[in-house]
Symmetry: C2
Subunit: 339 residues, 2 copies
Amino acid sequence: MVTIYDIAKKADVSPMTVSRVINNSGKIRSTTREKVEQAIKELGYIPNSAARSLTSNQTKTLGLILTDISNPFFAKIARGAEDAAVATGYRVLMSNTDEDSVKEVNYIDMMISARVDGVLIAPTSDETISQINRLRQHNIPVVLIDRMIEGFEGDYVLGDSYEGSRKLVKHLIDYGHHNIALINGPSNVSTARERQRGYLETLKLNDLAVHDHYLSEIDFKSVQAGSAKDIVEQLMSLEKDKKPTAIFAANNFIAISVIKALKELGLNVPEDISVVCFDEVEPVVYFDPFFTVAAQPATEIGRIGTQFLVERVEHQNINQERKVVLPPDIFIRKSTRRL
Amino acid sequence: MVTIYDIAKKADVSPMTVSRVINNSGKIRSTTREKVEQAIKELGYIPNSAARSLTSNQTKTLGLILTDISNPFFAKIARGAEDAAVATGYRVLMSNTDEDSVKEVNYIDMMISARVDGVLIAPTSDETISQINRLRQHNIPVVLIDRMIEGFEGDYVLGDSYEGSRKLVKHLIDYGHHNIALINGPSNVSTARERQRGYLETLKLNDLAVHDHYLSEIDFKSVQAGSAKDIVEQLMSLEKDKKPTAIFAANNFIAISVIKALKELGLNVPEDISVVCFDEVEPVVYFDPFFTVAAQPATEIGRIGTQFLVERVEHQNINQERKVVLPPDIFIRKSTRRL
DNA sequence: AGATTTTATGTTACCGATAACCGTAAGCGC
DNA sequence: GCGCTTACGGTTATCGGTAACATAAAATCT
């Protein structure tokens, strides 16, 4: 392993001089600098980050805690985050909690142990606040992405679930739908709460009744499991005038699960029932845009979140909290039809 | 920052004893162990990985170099890799080369600087061999995933591009197609070469002529760019008896780009032309399986690759090279039709 | 009981880089 | 010519762990 000592010996200077050349600090005669740079090139020296971290107390590494990178929405967030990180000289440690708070705790431990300089996290639920506090006890700045936490103080970057939800439901109402069922994510996740709030308020504003049998909750993840099946069956077995003519799925995975369940019941979208959801269904959207969706700017969420995080890392004393809520784009496509 | 010295003072032992308790090494009296564990718990101590790395010369971190995590195929590889990594006590540093060899070099530098214990890489091209050698000069084991490199010695885990290609083309021939165009990835990537080899051999075995105008190359990435447009237009402007009745797109992104281009020409799939490709188009496949594809076991590729890598890192089975080529599943769906 | 081994723990040095401090020679002012 | 500043670069100590060696007390053997 080549170290600054090897370089120092080869260039016939002290290790400190080598360090100064590498970091461009202090005054170095140009002839000395060249000698050192030559030696570095010849020996192919690359600094040892671990050693640097020990003295500098920073790792130039950011932790990225998501629920599942194989969900295209989070993959895009990850991509945006990684791009912004390298652009500012940081590395990214990734992780997948699967919406599981136990896994989340373990990853937080990992991040603390790795001494990451900051953490970008999409929390599994409001309970995550205690883990965030743990990070902060270790002086690790945290920026929330995609999901808010009640009472959290600090920066966050989210999509506007409330507004997106309002527009989606409004669109359905404009299309003549009065019986709209919401299949929501877990209510201990902020995006689910906001989507429900938007749903309820829009119904009220349009003088439509709110029925309990139109409200249900399932997990945000797992397309394959087909977990929406029971709910869909129950909805479709309601009496004729109660039967929903439209379903609002809280995210893309739930929507897919819903369509699958409908198909198994012999029902077609949008002929028999309309479906809307949050988040694009990539990459199909590029050639066959099917779903009427509220598309969130995932890459942006990752990018901006990382920028905020890096700013926090590099200037501990940022006083104002930055709360960015990005509006989703509503795309009206083929999964909804006029009644 | 809580260190072993703080724990040592609190528990009234030496730092070394604390270290031994943490690592479960050496003999410790149970009463001493309890004292130390108590102190660790009370102060919320978590070991500093950087300091550990300095002496142990290992970081418990793996580098994952992919072309683009927002491609679902690579996202799945990443997921499989990360799962296998945590299961064996490693962290994962992720990166996106965008098929760009310059970015790739930078990431290799980053991995060396971070002193990762091993690297899992989907190389951008055969040129990457020099970067792999650089990693090896630094004693960093490398496992290839998804793509092979001519002359590479070591472990790799790939999908069987040749076999998948043969089956895809055979399927088209069985459906009566004789004019099959291949829109391939860059020929300096092994998967592209293997897919072309499978294509050519299958044509020959079935006594079909090979035409140069059916062979073209574009980038594996970028759905949005619509980069296949020119090629598709050229293909569809061939004289009637030369015009292809089927297109073999080398991967899912190219296929999407192809379908988009066809649509813009007013052509429908599969009515006007059949299309097949490599890799699933997720997550649509779960509710509306459209593409006839050769689906590669992406998660498995990531998982097995990581397992091999960890074994190499921990110096087991250093002698034999493991070359795993996983067969793809052929799914015949709606993008192909009998002629 | 004294010698020898074992057990449990402490001491020292070091991993590779760098902050803080120190030293020397050249440059400058009067 | 003397004192002082500036430029350049070396020395030392330290970051938080741990390997290697040292040592004291307890256990075992002769």
